[in-house]
């Protein structure tokens, strides 16, 4: 009987093999491989988060984060920074005339001067920024309104800029392609800022402002390239300057022929669109003197502005910022405070967990698992 039933089953199994269909049911009636993977028995590390083992981590994080935070905070506080708002929207402010009498079609820039005092001297390299607020460089229409291959020196794109540049793609009058095309290039910040030190002896000396080194090295050397040609004006012959520009792109920096065309650093800096509507961009660098005197001694200074850039229409503001730099950048207390906060919270939680661990976990460990 046993033999007979066994045989019957064998046949059963064989038949079902051919008759059962469907994706998953393949290759049956063989003994499954007894491998660790197939039997879900791969050797494994099985950690669990308990108060006991998280506790030290919390203390460690707290003990690491708080000093870092304090260090960051102190570093940030040691940075010298001064912000001069020269928008001139308020009557009586130095640039009010320029601001209110702004017209697009002037050949002579409106000049205004702003005086300010540095109470403390600035040491080391000093970085000069211009800042704009309420300026949406991150607006989608604006961000995409550029042609990266044109900026990379592609001749074809120079002649025929990308559609993304509309409506700043071709000049409405001459119908020639605009180089550089797009809204970003068209709205290049064109105030000229100069800085003068009013020395106590009454002399006024210009502070030397370095134009180079303000853009990313990779941008200047790889991402932005002039079209190939001996003479830049020849290369850009069939193109039109952007509508808002006073000078064509190959004459942006008359003083330095290497700083013209698409590789002009002011231009490159502007082309890197800011993340937020209030932003600053690096304008000039005041290198520290070779002699060990202070870069910017305390005292009275004059900022001379060639006021070309209108911001009043969108309630924007313009600022000039002078700042020293540490290894962690400019003045920003946020990171230090955040580190101290998170570190303290971790430390505090560590203490709470210690209490809980003592009170509850020992109880749980002694309790029996109910069946």
């Amino acid at each position: 009987m046993m033999a007979s039933s066994y045989n019957a089953k064998e046949e059963d199994g064989r038949n079902s093999n051919s008759s059962t269909h469907g994706g998953a049911a393949v290759a049956k009636s063989k003994k499954p491989d007894n491998t660790a993977f197939k039997q879900q028995r791969l050797p494994a590390w099985q950690p669990i988060l308990t108060a006991g083992n998280v506790l030290p981590a919390f203390f460690v994080i707290g003990l690491i984060f708080i000093p870092i935070g304090i260090g960051l905070y102190v570093t940030s506080n040691n940075i010298r920074e001064i912000e001069i708002d020269y928008t001139g929207s308020e009557s009586g402010s130095p640039c009010n005339d320029c601001s209110t009498n702004f017209t697009w079609n002037t050949t002579t820039p409106c000049i205004c001067t702003v005086n300010f005092t540095l109470n403390q001297p600035f040491e080391g390299n000093v970085y000069m920024y211009y800042g704009l607020s309420n300026f949406y460089q991150n607006h989608r229409r604006y961000v995409k309104s550029r042609d990266d291959s044109q900026l990379n020196g592609n001749i074809k794109s120079l002649k025929e800029p990308s559609k993304e540049c509309e409506p700043y793609r071709t000049d409405p009058v001459t119908k020639k392609p605009i180089a550089p095309c797009g809204a970003i290039a068209n709205s290049l910040f064109n105030d000229t800022l100069e800085l003068f030190h009013n020395e106590p002896n009454g002399r006024t000396t210009a502070v030397p402002l370095a134009k180079r080194g303000i853009a990313w090295y990779t941008d200047r050397t790889v991402k932005f390239r002039n079209p190939v040609g001996d003479n830049l004006s020849e290369v850009f012959k069939d193109t039109e300057k952007p509508m808002n520009w006073m000078k064509p792109v190959y004459e942006l920096d008359p003083s330095d022929p290497e700083n013209n065309g698409f590789i002009n650093e002011d231009f490159i800096v502007w082309m890197r669109t800011a993340a937020l509507p209030t932003f600053r961009k690096l304008y000039r660098i005041i290198h520290k003197n070779s002699s060990s005197t202070l870069t910017l001694p305390s005292g009275s200074y004059t900022l001379k502005v060639a006021y070309n850039y209108p911001v009043s229409s969108f309630d924007g503001r313009k600022r000039m910022i002078l700042s020293t730099i540490s290894w962690m950048g400019g003045k920003n207390p946020f990171l230090g405070i955040a580190y101290i906060t998170v570190g303290s919270i971790c430390f505090f939680l560590g203490v709470v967990l210690l209490i809980i661990h003592h009170k509850y976990d020992s109880r749980n460990n002694s309790a029996d698992i109910p069946n």
Binding site: T20, Q40, Q46, N332
Partner: protein, 1137 residues
């Protein structure tokens, strides 16, 4: 009479010619020969050819049809719409971001389906082209199978498969029978006998067959394998002869001819109309509870998405009211933009926001879930512990959609025979008029009365008793449908049975019958074979007795008995009947009813399966009457079943009781342990059986379904006869409710195990009374409620005397009750199929009663004991895994998209994306997809062994507890929190200052990259924190995908990409990494993002630990302890009271 009907029907057919639908019968002309003129006109109906088409597509329609089917899925359609919107309007992200993933998914699916269809085409072709033999003009001709037409006469040889549904005309056997195995159809490997019509069985050569002049009227094809009605009209001479045809004349496509040299048959159903093809229709789709919650979450996220888009659109227009904001001098619009109507602009803005935020519902989630289910199901098939050495079978997964549902089961409905028990019948004893015979005390054919001190035993059987005893044995030898299967040796049937068991054995669809015939053999009466309509028995004196088999009144589950009518060599006519006690006793007019009844009840209590045997001597007149009744019933077309049942009812009466038999069905190995585990896991186990109450109850006690402490509530016919159903129900519900009212119900009290539990026994008749829809009585609607209330409070319920359909009804009733519990049905036989299909999860056992249950199930396992691992381990894991998968997917996409939403407030609602296109596209595809997929395949929060040892852990995940709304909200809030931390962390870092040491500034893409870097690390670490099972694969994938992200970012920003119209990411990532504060802020933000989740986990674990967490904490010490539960395996199947 029958002739008239058929003429009428032909007339109707003619009337409706051309409109196939209203033809409910078909007329087949055998050999395409016209009937003799005058009878009826020759109308050729059009039938399909014998081509089997299981493929879905052709070469031409594959692309349109497959695309249509794929885009019918809501998710795919949604992404297609998003993609089209991106193509049409000016959107923030390029169409590639959503097009690429979508088309990847679509193409992979299309390739998979195309390949499967190609395989089907190949299979179809090989089937359709295989040669068949057809009789044409008196010769056997080879044809391709697909060219077979209805009406062709087909010649089939031994071991060949029937190419279409055939009516048997004649066979090589003289009696016109043939043997067939339908194993590939319903899995029953036994040999079934099919009969040719009397009038055609003599035509045995192709020439003779060619002379048959007949038509067949039969019903149009229907899928029921066991139902067939038809008529054959044979024109011999002048007068046509009409014979009825039934399923025993119909050879089904797919079945195999056995033990018969050849047959001739006429094709009546071909191609897609064969019963096999009609049975291939797909089953209804079952959806798991997880899928339902997933869809609910999707709706929530869709609402979030739409409201985000609406909020931003509205804000945009409020903000833009000032024209200097809308279009400042530095940022002009094109002329076409300016001229667009404001409503169109608003609408496109809305769509653009939708596109920008659409990643919150990721395509990849569907792909990942599908892959998880498909790949995950392999672990079930691979499971070594679910492999049965004896059957050489492993678990089978028929659908992988329900893996996680295995972890959610609340009600288990199990069959008894073959599921709880082995269905390996062993003849224990028989009792003839109170004399008990036990086979194993027989020596050399000497019958010894039972040795145990049973007071009923008549110790001195007189000659009269001896005669009745032999009659009883003969009855059992004759009243069955057992076949003798001979092994190889053709003439060795007798020889084989004499010499050894191995060369020949009995086969039957019912193991009980085999056990009985085997038992008889041991008691001295050996059934030899059925030859030429005579059954041969070898009696104790080694003489062959021949009985002519006149009629077989086959077994059915309604009558619960079967009979044979035989004529002995002396010419005496007998009707032998065997069946369940309840169906025999009412029909008995004489015999020692009391003694037998007592013995039967005693045996039933011991858990044995009992059958009663009775006979009725028939006079010749009576026999003729019987024949008349049967032929009339069988000729009938319309209500044949009913008439046959009535005829049987008339024939099987006035019986004389001979005795009873007892057969033991052993409990399956570890059945009790499994049931106990299921109970501990909080599942309610219901046993649904057709058996009688006492037997079933005994099995229930043996399998620990009922324990000694269980208070049994009975809801049976016996009780409802005494009291009204109404009173019984109310009394029971009061008993149950009083208990629960007195004890405050603690939801987790399942662990205490101290309260008395209740077990309910209900029988089929009472159940149908309870479930009967209210007619005159408005109260009866309440019965169902009360009954459900009682059932809810019972840990175990036994339903006995159930018809197959009632099993499905019960499952349906529980499914529809107000908690909507998840049900699981497990069974092995064809009678369990309805319940397997009805339950949320259907599990088939690879038992002896064919493969129908396995084929219709969602999962199939070799033995009942494997259910424990299936539910407690696999089900638990799959549920944990998939719930984390679903929650995590939504979480990581909230983290991903919410910063983009916040960014809109700082970029003038201009739909400026925060992240670069490559990041948007690859976030879900490659940066964060593999760790969660691997997690959802490998995670084991607790070791397998502990899950098996502690079934109560199953309660921790009951009721979809990991996908409840609070948990979903927790994950979403966590995602929003992380997004806020990441976004504002970066915001304050970028706020109007520099963080490089050379004073240079970063732009918006650095901002986005910083957020994105923190994002990728945070969501990956979050998953790492949730992972409890770190294999090398997890390490590889988690750290690997982070490394991949970094490498990709370096590469993506490392070169000027040709063919790309923007170079916005050039050196952005490197420049960011060159800044110290960027590193510091990444570390800080990751820490701050993960902190709340860690704190929540640790606090909850310490203050309000779940059972799972307690056991996780204590895992190591537990693993080394021997478990008490584990040792509680059953040692003996036999139970004594």
């Amino acid at each position: 009479m029958g002739m008239d009907f058929s003429t009428l029907r032909t007339l109707i057919n003619r009337y409706c010619a051309g409109e196939e639908n209203c033809v409910d019968t078909r007329t087949v002309y055998i050999g395409h020969k016209q009937p003799p003129p005058g009878t009826e006109a020759f109308i050729q109906q059009r039938f399909p050819d014998n081509r089997i088409v299981s493929s879905k597509y052709t070469f031409w329609n594959f692309i349109p049809k497959n695309m249509f089917e794929q885009f019918r899925r809501v998710a795919n359609f949604y992404f297609l719409i998003i993609f089209l919107v991106q193509l049409i309007i000016d959107t923030p992200t390029s169409p590639i971001t959503s097009g690429l993933p979508l088309f990847f998914v679509i193409i992979v699916t299309a390739i998979k389906q195309g390949y499967e269809d190609w395989l089907r085409h190949k299979a179809d072709n090989s089937v359709n082209k295989c040669p068949v033999h057809v009789v044409e003009h008196g010769k056997v001709v080879r044809k391709q199978s697909r060219k077979l037409r209805v009406g062709d006469v087909v010649f089939v040889e031994e071991d060949e498969v029937f190419p279409c549904d055939l009516i048997l005309l004649s066979s090589s056997r003289d009696d016109g029978t043939c043997y067939v195995t339908t194993a590939s159809l319903d899995g029953e490997s036994s040999h079934k006998t099919y009969h040719a019509v009397q009038d055609t069985k003599a035509y045995k050569t192709e020439e003779e067959v060619n002379c048959i002049h007949a038509t067949i009227d039969c019903e149009q094809p229907q899928p029921d394998l066991y139902k067939f009605r038809g008529n054959i009209n044979i024109y011999m001479g002048s007068e046509p002869v009409s014979r009825s045809l039934a399923s025993q004349n119909l050879l089904l496509r797919g079945a195999t001819l056995k033990n018969t040299q050849y047959i001739y048959g006429v094709a009546i159903y071909t191609g897609m109309e064969t019963k096999m093809a009609l049975n291939y229709q797909s089953k209804s789709q079952k959806r798991s509870a997880v899928e339902k919650s997933m869809n609910a979450y999707l709706v929530v996220y869709l609402c979030i998405l739409i409201s985000k888009a609406i909020i931003n659109t509205a804000m945009k227009y409020v903000w833009q009211a000032d024209p200097n904001r809308d279009e400042p001098f530095y940022n002009g619009k094109t002329e076409t933009e300016r001229q667009r109507h404001v409503l169109i602009r608003a609408f496109t803005d809305f769509l653009a926001f939708m596109v920008l935020f659409n990643y919150i519902i990721p395509v990849s989630m569907y792909v990942t879930v599908e892959m998880q289910k498909f790949l995950g199901s392999y672990f079930i098939m691979w499971d070594d512990e679910m492999f049965d050495e004896e059957l050489r079978e492993r678990a089978v997964v028929n659908t992988s959609d329900l893996n996680e549902e295995l972890g959610q089961v609340e009600y288990v409905f199990t069959d008894k025979t073959g599921t709880l028990t082995e269905n390996n019948m062993e003849f224990i004893e028989c009792c003839v008029d109170g004399n008990v015979y036990v086979p194993h005390v027989i020596c050399n054919g000497q019958v010894m009365p039972g040795a145990s001190g049973i007071d009923m035993i008549d110790t001195s059987p007189g000659p009269d008793a001896r005669e009745r005893e032999e009659l009883f044995f003969r009855a059992l030898c004759l009243c069955h449908t057992v076949q003798v299967k001979e092994e190889e040796t053709v003439d060795g049937i007798k020889h084989g049975i004499h010499q050894g068991k191995s060369s020949s054995f009995y086969i039957s669809s019912s193991p009980d019958e085999v056990a009985l015939v085997e038992g008889m053999k041991r008691l001295g009466f050996t059934y030899l074979r059925l030859k030429d309509g005579h059954m041969e028995i070898l009696n104790r004196e080694d003489e062959i007795e021949r009985f002519e088999l006149l009629e077989v009144l086959t077994f059915d589950s309604v009558r619960r008995r079967m009979s044979v009518i035989v004529r002995s060599s002396k010419g005496e006519l007998y009707l032998f009947c065997k069946g369940a006690d309840s169906s025999i006793f009412p029909r008995v007019i004489s015999g020692k009813v009391e003694q037998v009844k007592a013995r039967v009840e005693r045996n039933a209590v011991e858990g044995l399966r009992t059958l009663c045997v009775a006979y009725r001597p028939l006079s010749t007149e009576q026999y003729e009457q019987v024949c008349h009744l049967l032929t009339r019933a069988k000729l009938e077309f319309q209500d044949q079943d009913k008439l046959v049942a009535e005829a049987y009812d008339l024939i099987e009466r006035d019986l004389i009781l001979l005795g009873a038999t007892a057969v033991e069905d052993r409990l399956q190995e570890k059945a009790a342990d499994t049931i106990e585990s299921l109970h501990k896991a909080g599942m309610k186990v219901w046993v649904l059986t057709g058996d009688k109450m006492e037997t079933a109850a005994a099995t229930c006690y043996a399998s620990k379904l009922f324990r000694r402490s269980t208070q049994i509530l009975e809801l049976t016919t016996k009780r409802t006869e005494e009291q009204s159903l109404h009173d019984v129900l109310f009394e029971l519900s009061r008993t149950v409710l009083r208990h629960y009212g007195a004890m405050p119900r603690d939801t987790s009290s399942g662990l205490s195990g101290e309260y008395t539990d209740y077990g309910l026994i209900i029988d089929g008749a009472t159940l149908s009374a309870v479930m009967r829809p209210s007619q005159e009585d408005s109260n009866s609607g309440n019965y169902k409620e009360i009954f459900l209330e009682i059932c809810r409070n019972c840990s175990a319920v036994l339903c006995c005397r159930m018809a197959p359909l009632q099993k499905a009804q019960i499952v349906k009733m529980i499914k529809a009750s107000k908690e909507h519990p998840i049900t699981l049905a497990i069974g092995d036989g064809a009678n369990d199929v309805s319940m397997i299909l009805e339950a949320h999860v259907g599990i088939g056992i690879m038992g002896k009663e064919g493969r129908q249950a396995v084929r219709n199930s969602d999962y199939a396992i070799p033995k009942f004991k494997h259910l424990k691992k299936m539910l407690l381990v696999h089900g638990h894991y799959y549920y944990i895994r998939i719930s984390e998968l679903v929650q995590y997917f939504f979480y990581k996409n909230v983290c991903f998209i919410f910063p983009q939403f916040l960014y809109q407030f700082f970029c003038g609602f201009s739909q400026q994306p925060l992240y670069d296109t490559a990041y948007l596209t690859l976030y879900n595809i490659s940066f964060t997809s593999l760790p969660i997929l691997l997690y959802s395949l490998m995670e084991q929060h607790i070791n397998m062994e502990i899950l098996k040892k502690e079934p109560s852990l199953y309660r921790d995940i009951a009721k979809n507890s990991l996908l409840t709304w609070p948990i979903f909200i927790y994950w979403t809030v966590l995602g929003v929190y992380d997004a806020i931390v990441m976004f504002f962390g970066a915001y304050f870092l970028f706020d109007n200052t520099t963080f490089t040491s050379n004073g240079q500034m970063f732009g918006n893409w650095t901002f986005g990259t910083l957020v994105f870097t923190v994002l990728v690390f945070t969501v990956t670490f979050k998953l790492a924190l949730d992972t409890h099972y770190w294999t090398w694969i997890n390490h590889f994938v988690i750290w690997g995908s982070l490394v991949f992200f970094v490498v990709f970012s370096l590469l993506w920003g490392g070169i000027i990409w040709p063919f790309l119209n923007y170079q916005r990411m050039y050196y952005v990532f490197m420049q960011m990494l060159s800044s110290g504060p960027a590193w510091l802020s990444i570390i800080l933000l990751i820490t701050a993002s993960l902190l709340p989740d860690v704190v929540k986990k640790v606090f909850w674990r310490s203050l309000w630990p779940t059972t799972t967490e307690q056991i996780q904490t204590k895992r190591r010490c537990l693993a080394s302890e021997p478990s008490t539960i584990f040792m509680l395996s059953q040692t003996s199947s036999r139970i004594s009271f």
